[in-house]
């Protein structure tokens, strides 16, 4: 795939060598190819090509502006759980079928203000609950690298949109790894920023204390530019930080001499697939040869992450998803009286994985169980966050780990929910601790992409990007071989 980068597209449009309408047309052409061609990737759930074209044409006027936006003329894809004005926002769920938001998410507005054109809404595991994009009411998405395999999830549609060369940049969302894991599976870059770095206003909530909008790019630079546009304080989100947004592209050419890279032993267990370990080792050697100091560290509470995650996230989800009750919007199925309407609507509207998590969350918050589960999980979460603080306080700048314990698995291969939950084993910690993390391609195993993960301290995205830019540059073509 030789699709142009954000920087190239923006430069071409700003210089008049191309128009936004042309860059959009290319994206639409490619989207049609992959969604209707032999592979039927099923990337987008909602597109309105005419409306997108109208938006692109309106951008021509922007050229007269003194400062063309940083994403002028760049086509982007947006996950279906981010509120957009023209297209439906359905979270891959039947319960929101036909729902069009009357307001726009802050991130969507920031993309458009920056000159980007939203091509469509991408497929996802229903309400972002899943790691394969198989649990969508609108069918599974296929991995562009290997169409018989999953693209990862829950932001699989956005990852596939970038990996298939439709767009250079896409928005996803993370609760436990839903950007990084599909980025790893599809061989692209995926960033989960620090909790509070990006506004959640308009991101349909799954687990509010973990959710964060993330970005996919074909390259580290695409992702850095995308994050720079959507990050920043939003008065409409009380959990968004009032911290200035640095220029994440500033570290593009920086070296990593003196950078201290920690390798948490818990992320390299004996059971780790040796082929994935080999790819990580090769990346670590590159970092070392670039002048970084590499040392082993320990995050002793890592094993608590999955159990803690699967208490906290469903608990918050059980409350966040209560609003889908058939009263005001979305699906309404009739039943016997009010109670019957609730039962019919929610039973008919939510798929099995969402139902499972609502039940799990309701259970752990129930009187008599709260202390044993939810309170305990919050205490364990504090321990996990403490692990990161101690390591970063000890002089370690970034951590490097594998992103996922496996490469993309075949569609339908994992039917046991708990086995599926283990896909998040190396990613959920960052969400629980609120620290930034990103995945970038570090090579392939059996033709399938492997992702390497950098994690940094709160709001230290610049150092994380510096490490990623350097590793990407050092790996060159090896990252995709």
């Amino acid at each position: 795939m030789t699709a142009p980068s954000c920087a190239d597209l923006r430069a071409d449009v700003a210089a008049g060598r191309a128009t936004a309408a042309e860059t959009l047309s290319a994206a639409i052409r490619r989207a049609r190819e992959v969604d209707t061609g032999a592979d039927r990737l099923n990337v987008f759930v909602w597109r309105d090509d005419a409306d997108a074209r109208a938006q692109a044409e309106a951008l021509a006027d922007r050229l007269a502006d003194t400062t063309p936006g940083p994403l002028l003329g760049v086509p982007v894809a947006v996950k279906d759980n981010i509120a957009t004005l023209a297209l439906p926002t359905t979270c891959g769920s039947r319960i929101l079928e036909g729902y069009v938001s009357p307001y726009e998410a802050t991130v969507a507005r920031r993309l458009r203000d920056a000159g980007a054109v939203i091509v469509g809404k991408t497929n996802m595991d229903e309400f972002a609950m899943g790691s394969s994009t198989e649990h969508s009411a609108y069918g599974p998405t296929r991995n562009p690298v290997a169409p018989d395999r999953v693209p990862g999830g829950s932001s699989g549609g956005s990852a596939a949109a970038v990996a298939a060369g439709i767009v250079p940049l896409a928005l996803g969302s993370e609760t436990g790894g839903s950007v990084r894991q599909p980025a790893a599976f599809c061989g692209i870059v995926g960033v989960k920023p620090t909790y509070g770095r990006v506004s959640r206003y308009g991101l349909v909530a799954f687990a509010s204390s973990l959710d964060q909008v993330g970005v996919f790019g074909r390259t580290v630079d695409d992702a850095a530019r995308g994050l720079g546009v959507v990050a920043g304080h939003d008065p409409r989100d009380s959990t968004s930080a009032q911290i200035p947004v640095p220029d994440y592209t500033a570290a593009a050419g920086a070296d990593v001499k003196g950078l201290v890279v920690g390798l948490p032993t818990e992320y390299f267990p004996a059971s780790l697939d040796p082929a994935i370990r080999a790819r990580c080792d090769a990346a670590i050697d590159r970092l070392r040869s670039l002048g970084a100091t590499v040392k082993e560290v320990s995050l002793p509470h890592t094993s608590l992450a999955i159990p803690v995650y699967y208490i906290v996230a469903p608990a918050e989800a059980s409350s966040n998803l209560a609003r889908f009750d058939g009263v005001r919007y979305g699906l309404r199925l009739t039943g016997d009286g009010l109670r019957g309407m609730y039962d019919a609507t929610r039973s008919g509207g939510f798929g099995p994985e969402v139902t499972r998590r609502i039940l799990l969350g309701t259970y752990v918050l129930s009187a008599g169980y709260y202390d044993a589960y939810y309170r305990k999980a919050q205490q364990a979460r504090t321990l996990i966050a403490g692990d990161f603080r101690r390591v970063f306080d000890s002089g370690v700048h970034v951590l490097f780990t594998p992103t996922a314990p496996s490469t993309a698995f075949p569609i339908g291969a994992i039917s046991d929910p708990y086995e599926m939950y283990l896909s998040d084993i190396f990613t959920a910690t960052a969400n629980l601790a609120g620290v930034p993390a990103m995945s970038l391609p570090i090579g392939r195993v059996g033709g399938l992409p492997v992702g390497g993960q950098f994690l940094a301290s709160h709001f230290d995205e610049p150092r994380m990007f510096a490490a990623a830019y350097a590793l990407e540059r050092a790996l060159g073509g090896e990252a995709h071989a």
Partner: protein, 487 residues
Amino acid sequence: MTAAATAARDRWEMVVGLEVHVQLKTRTKAFCPCSAEYGAPPNANTCPVCLALPGALPVLNEHAVALATRAALALQCAVQPVSVFARKNYFYPDLPKGYQISQFDKPLALGGWVEIGRRAEGDPIRIGVTRVHMEEDAGKSVHDRFPGATAIDLNRSGVPLIEIVSEPDMRSAEQAGAYLRVLKQILEYIDVSDVNMEEGSLRVDANVSARRRGESALGTKTEVKNMNSFSGVERALEVEFARQVAVLEAGGTIEQQTMLWDGNAGEVRPARSKEGSHDYRYFPEPDLPPLILAADWIEQARHDLPELPAARRARFASEYHLGEYDVEVLTADAHVADYYESVARAHGEPKAAANWVMGEVLATLKSSGQDIARFRVRPADLAALLGLVRDGVVSHTAAKQIFSRMVATGDPPAQIAEREGLVKVDDDAQLAAWLDEVIAEHPDEAERLRNGEKKLQGVLIGAVMKKSKGRADPRKLTQLLSARLGS
């Protein structure tokens, strides 16, 4: 009540704790910029946040925090430096998020009290305030507007409330009523709420139990809801207490449940749904950071607290030398007290000002149903009128006429007196002329007065006053009459 029933009743003691919800007087809602005003067309005051559209997030209204803090301080509570919002989860069509943002284990304020009177021995009766916490109101379900359907109005969804939870310190329905009246007065004084039970800006749920006199352990309580007046609360408590006593006397046990008061039937009956068995699955609201209040901010709020009713009563007694009754009447309402103070200060004679405010002003307000805030007679004008009386420019009778013209027109008193010819007449010639006419018209009475029947003096003077339309100076008139008829 039969003698036996009375005796049974006397063996038991009523124990009451009250939960009072009060709507805060903010311009906008608790978590979004929508207007919090009452009475807009259905669903006019709504936005993505209070409609709970997917992806919307709450942002705390700082003014609501200020008002809640003021209320907590006025109730002598310790305002907490850190309090935490929590979600109270339950399904109901007028609760759009499926949860109410409230506070649970870390409320805004703890441990206050309200003084509701004094015991015979003189000790104050204090009712403990367990906690004051902030929360949002739900919308309204309208069942009687569309046949066979329930309509939802979400204008009220997200309006800020405080819940004031008392200790189970009240021992009678009268004490519960007194607590509510004092609470309402305090909240009015500090201007945090309209405290209007009919409009729903103040709502009361009562927890009531019965225990055998002399015992210290509390009995099983029931929660009584659906009262829409303070007297309704008192009646409901009496009825529910009698029901509990009857059950206990018969050897039964009280079931912990919610009872609904039916004011028309004068009955309580169990709520259909077992609200007491709800599991609200409280957990900290992840969309809002903990509410952190700096110590100096809390101190400033304490410093800025308006004078509370008890302090004002004490000051009225000492500063204006008013009797207990006058003080009670003048301080019952903060706006009336403000009005009185303005008149008293402008006029300089507190007792005269008190008589006028308690008399003419309150009577006029009551009979016309006006609010003192919109009363046309401003304090400065009333003080001016009192000045005209004191200075002998108008008679007391004329002053009352002038006052009623002031109520109707809002004009200043001197202007009315001039225009209506109500300035007192003390001109000897005019007074003598009126007197002559009256003596001529009442020869019989004049003769009897001349013969020493003193009480007829009043009749003749009254006739002159009437003829003069109240303008005659009564003192001078009396002198003239005495001189003329030797009375």
